[in-house]
Amino acid sequence: MAEAMGFFTDTTVCIGCKACEVACKEWNQLPAENGGVRELSGDSYDNTRRLDGIHWRHVRFIEQFKGPYDGRWLMMSDVCKHCVQAGCLEVCPTGAIIRTEFDTVVIQSDVCNGCRACIAACPFGVIDINPVSGTAQKCTLCYDRLKVGLEPACSKACPTDSIQFGSIAELRTRAHKRVDQLKAQGVKAELYGADPDGALGGLNSFYLLVDEPEVYGLPRKPQLPTRSLTKSAGLSVASAAVLGVLALVGLRKRRMDDKGGPEGGGQN
């Protein structure tokens, strides 16, 4: 395997411009929800609200104010974590989800049967069905671009280098330096997912946060669904088989409902 590649997202320099969201959709040709005709969410400047099958990048806006002008406005561009121990990959019954030579996790759309097992298995709520393909989709870390030596569309478009792409080893070094710099300035800064001995064996998309993970909608201790998987292995296999048959006869259910509600953060 080539060197592990991934993202380091430094939320302290994110300006919430959403260029990453648009660059991702443009490169991966993902549709806008309802053709772009939507209602205002009312949740700060966040109107896409979540990661799912057609939103592979998502910028969160977290308003933390004590009174007028007295507080801070946090922004974070979120994406698939490309976990070293990836729950989605473990539960996928068709082998559609693979670990690539870049140590990233990719769903092969032509092998996916839309069974949704991965959706439930992801501790971060990253995956969902793309209504156009009828299959489970998420960030591929621009596998097609990486194959030809290009960096992913989102990090390429990020004007302030909040999203940095590179080898995980180098990104970790850079991230630790940045944390030290911020701490010297008195900023409470922590890395999330940068520890190879931490949860899920480390995340190949890790973050620099200035508040608790929950504030950003991230679980404090993300866990693999392995245990529950073992218990219900039989059921999973059975349901996967049923869904596989359904897929074969072309009854791909398209989920269009809106999950709604911020998954954490929002207006505080």
Binding site: G36, V37, R38
Partner: protein, 860 residues
């Protein structure tokens, strides 16, 4: 200040963020806590429209500070590089003497033929002039005009030289600029700033201290502003006030310093350089005007030439421009066709033209790349457009301007019947920018060429195609006319077709490089001999150049400097001189002679930029073959100075242009070679910035008896479609600002139709502070009606602490804000926020006051 750079210029904002990683401090002074504030080290709230009070407070703080008075750098810079020491005439009276106005105020009377100038009052600026010694002897200007002297026009320019200005380098004379400005700003104390701006005193003092600490020999500070400083009835004075502060701090002409104008549109810099402006011809020369002494070519030159600065070359710029307009027909005998050139009659700016249109004085309009149906005082604008006989809309989509006649709010609510609208509307589908060749000029004055990347769909045409073919057809219509007024059209040169045998990028498309060549200029006898720089321009017709400031961007047929993309290597100090091309002469920092001290040495090693190398061996003068003494200005940038003029060089007694300036006068475009703290001429609304209230304000001016700028513009005064709120009108108690979001672009034609952008900000909203929302029973996402004297709009509420209440003069003033991108067309729709704005504006540049006016807010 005056900018929300992270949201409105996110790509350029990369660099402030890089600077921040390197330890720079970022301060954001703004009525809203925006995405810029979110990443700033300090956000300071300020009441919209009170920026001059804040900046004036900084000036007062700086000139009375220990640091400014103890570090000799500041005085050395101010005494030598600014007009601080210059003495103003005895007749001058400041706002301190006249309760808020300057000497010279007179009533403005509208000319009968064009009563749309909007001015309330007018200044006669004679009393603002420098105190001067006797004028040098020589032929009188009027005699030279009468006997049609020149070309060359050097004698005419020389005759304009005034007597020497009086100075007091000790800065003690009570009539010197420094003492005048010190008195002028003395009332702008930190306490007064807090009262006028609502900005907490301790935060204001922190900003002042940060600026002082970060200015001097070794450090520089920069200001960035955008349309939030221009859209006021005194916007130019806000920017002028910032320039004054920066000159006092030695922050002009040096790296990491300056006043950065962040333009409101990708190529708007280009559109003012190669102008779509009514009041200037190319390169910021004033448009010939029927209201000024511009009767003949020489009258124009006498009125418009500053004899003792680089503008002393104005006759060369003007004649080369006229040669570009009229080609071989322009000769010395017919004054290079000057008489064929149209003259303006008054204010033909956007609002003035729409005010005339509303009166039925405008027959037709070509509307290209603009969406006025959602623009300034939208109701009045749409009323004006309904008076047109014909309207051409050329755009990517059927915009609100193309559809107002059947989908506008007045039509929808039955006020206007479609059958009563006489306008015939033509819609031309338009290409996008990536579908043809051309150049952008960005906010750094940098031209960057772009090539066609994709074919346009269907029957879309480019803007160049449209105007090229329109001009050709117009010329055909005028051909053969013997009327003298038509000879401008008949003599106009228009040769932009591709060479025979070369296939245009679209049928009938002009050759963009030929347009660039026309702008750059060439030897009149041979268009293949491109000009290499404006130093080559002549006033005898032997050079042709549309825009002198762009001269040098295309110095040879195979050298399009604007297409260069070669950055400096990382880690090496430099100005990236091989990336694109910046006017003038590829200089990246203007007035960069000021980056060195009087002797020509860098002020400090850290801030080295351009310096005098006394050992440099110069080649002989190419024209005279005479030897040139040793020494040259060198550095990372192109020196903005006569390159072999030594720091100790004295002005030539009989010299004009740069010869009239010494080796220590860096501001070569100013008549005295110095940065102007006090502006004796050029601004119509005063020589020093003064705090006035916006036209519509909830409070009396806390600083002066004079409430508003005495010379600001009100168009269509008293008309039912431009009603204005009185000071403190209880019906409209809140201050409102309009603004833009990252996710949409201007009036929305390039974003509201695009699904990926529409979903990011899908609907219009109003940002309301939690206090006001509670008072009015408004919850997040409730529908709200916002009204001003001009109209009302509906929007959903975003209730937030990012905007709020400000204590001003003991009174709590609620502030609300609305992005103005919306209209009824496209995927993302909403009411037209500009239906609230008024036709009032700045007297220098005629922009409207969209950043500070009053409104009411009620739950729908």
């Amino acid at each position: 200040m005056g900018s929300n750079m992270a949201e409105c210029h996110p790509v350029a904002f990369r660099w402030p963020m890089k600077a921040k990683l390197n330890g720079a401090k970022l301060v954001h002074v703004d009525p809203r806590f925006t995405r810029t504030s979110a990443v700033a080290d300090l956000h300071v709230p300020i009441r919209a429209g009170s920026d001059i009070a804040f900046l004036g407070g900084l000036i007062n703080y700086v000139v009375n500070s220990k640091r400014w008075n103890s570090d000799p750098f500041f005085k050395e810079f101010a005494v030598n590089y600014t007009n601080a020491a210059t003495i103003i005439g005895d007749d001058f009276k400041d706002t301190e003497d006249l309760d808020g106005v300057f000497s010279g105020i007179v009533k403005f009377t509208e000319p009968a033929f064009w009563p749309y100038n909007g001015l309330e009052g007018r200044y006669d600026n004679a009393s603002w002039a420098y105190k001067r010694g006797p004028k040098p002897l020589g032929p009188a200007t009027k005699d030279l005009i009468a006997k049609r002297a020149g070309p060359p026009f050097d004698d005419l320019v020389r005759s304009l030289k005034p007597g020497p200005a009086e100075k007091d380098p000790t800065l003690q004379n009570p009539h010197c600029v420094f003492q005048i400005l010190k008195r002028h700003f003395s009332r702008y104390t930190p306490e007064m700033v807090e009262q006028v701006c609502g900005s907490p005193k301790e935060k204001f003092i922190r900003v002042a201290e940060m600026l002082l600490e970060n200015s001097g020999r070794d450090r520089t500070s920069a200001f960035a502003y955008a349309v939030a400083w221009t859209q006021h009835t005194y916007g130019v004075q806000m920017i002028s006030c910032c320039a004054l502060l920066q000159l006092l701090l030695g922050n002009i002409g040096r790296p990491g310093a300056g006043v950065m104008a962040l333009r409101g549109h990708a190529a708007i810099q280009g559109s003012t350089d190669v102008p779509t402006l009514y009041h200037s011809i190319h390169g910021y020369m004033n448009a010939p005007s029927a209201l000024r002494p511009h009767e003949t070519l020489r009258d124009y030159m006498a009125a418009e030439t500053s004899p003792t600065s680089y503008y002393g070359n104005t006759p060369k710029f003007l004649v080369s421009y006229l040669k570009s307009m009229y080609g071989a027909a322009a000769t010395a005998e017919n004054d290079f066709g000057y008489d064929w050139h149209p003259k303006i009659l008054g204010d033909h700016s956007h609002i003035a033209t729409f005010a005339a249109m509303a009166d039925g004085k405008v027959k037709g309009m070509c509307c290209v790349g603009q969406n006025p149906a959602t623009s300034l005082n939208g109701g009045a604008t749409r009323l004006a457009m309904r008076q047109l006989d014909w309207l051409v809309v050329k755009d990517n989509w059927l915009t609100e301007t193309a559809t107002h006649w059947y989908l506008g709010p007045e039509v929808k609510n039955g006020e206007v019947k479609i059958a009563d609208i006489k306008t015939e509307i033509f819609f031309f589908p338009s290409t996008q920018i990536a579908e043809y060749d051309g150049s952008f000029t960005n906010t750094q004055r940098m031209l960057q060429w772009h090539s066609k990347a994709a074919d346009a769909p269907g029957d879309c045409r480019t803007d160049t195609w449209f105007y090229h073919n329109l001009a050709k057809r117009m010329k055909k219509l005028y051909a053969g006319s013997k009327l003298s007024r038509d000879q401008g059209w008949n003599n106009l040169t228009w040769e932009f077709d591709f060479d025979p045998g070369v296939k245009p990028i679209y049928p009938g498309e002009p050759d963009a490089l030929k347009i660039l060549r026309e702008i750059n200029g060439y030897q009149t006898t041979d268009a293949k001999q491109h000009l290499k720089g404006f130093g080559e321009l002549k006033d005898d017709g032997s050079t042709t150049c549309a825009s002198w400031i762009y001269c040098g961007c295309y110095p040879a047929p195979d050298q399009n400097m604007t297409a260069r993309r070669e950055p400096d290597p990382p880690g090496v100090p430099g100005a990236h001189l091989k990336w694109g091309w910046a006017w003038p002469a590829n200089r990246r920092v203007m007035y960069n002679r000021a980056s060195a001290d009087l002797k020509g040495n860098p002020w400090s090693e850290r801030k080295r930029w351009v310096w005098w190398d006394a050992t440099f061996v110069n080649p002989p003068d190419p024209k005279t073959k005479k030897p040139v003494p040793k020494g040259k200005w060198v550095g990372y940038d192109v020196p903005d100075f006569a390159v072999t003029k030594a720091p100790d060089a004295q002005p030539k007694p009989d010299g004009i242009g740069l010869d009239a300036l010494s080796g220590t006068q860096p501001f070569i475009m100013r008549a005295d070679g110095r940065g102007w703290l006090f502006v004796p001429a050029g601004l119509v609304d005063g020589p020093l910035p003064t705090h006035y209230e916006p036209h519509e304000s909830p409070i009396q001016n806390p600083l002066y008896k004079q409430q508003t700028s005495p010379v600001h513009k009100v168009w269509a005064p008293g008309k039912p479609y431009n009603k204005l709120a009185a000071v403190g009108d209880p019906k409209f108690p809140y201050v409102i600002s309009t603004y833009r979001l990252t996710e949409h672009y201007l009036a929305g034609a390039m974003s509201r139709w695009l699904p990926w952008l529409a979903e990011l900000q899908p609907e219009l909203f109003i940002e309301i502070g939690k206090g006001l929302a509670a008072e009015k029973g408004i919850k997040n996402l409730d529908w709200v009606v916002i009204s001003s004297p001009r109209g009302h709009v509906r929007a959903k509420a975003l209730v937030t602490d990012r905007i709020g209440v400000m204590k001003v003069g003991g009174k709590a003033i609620h502030h609300v804000g609305m992005p103005w991108h919306w209209g009824w067309m496209g995927l993302s729709t909403g009411d037209v926020v500009n239906d609230l704005t008024a036709w009032v504006g700045d007297p220098n540049v005629s922009i409207h006051e969209g950043k500070a006016f009053v409104c009411n807010v009620e739950k729908a």
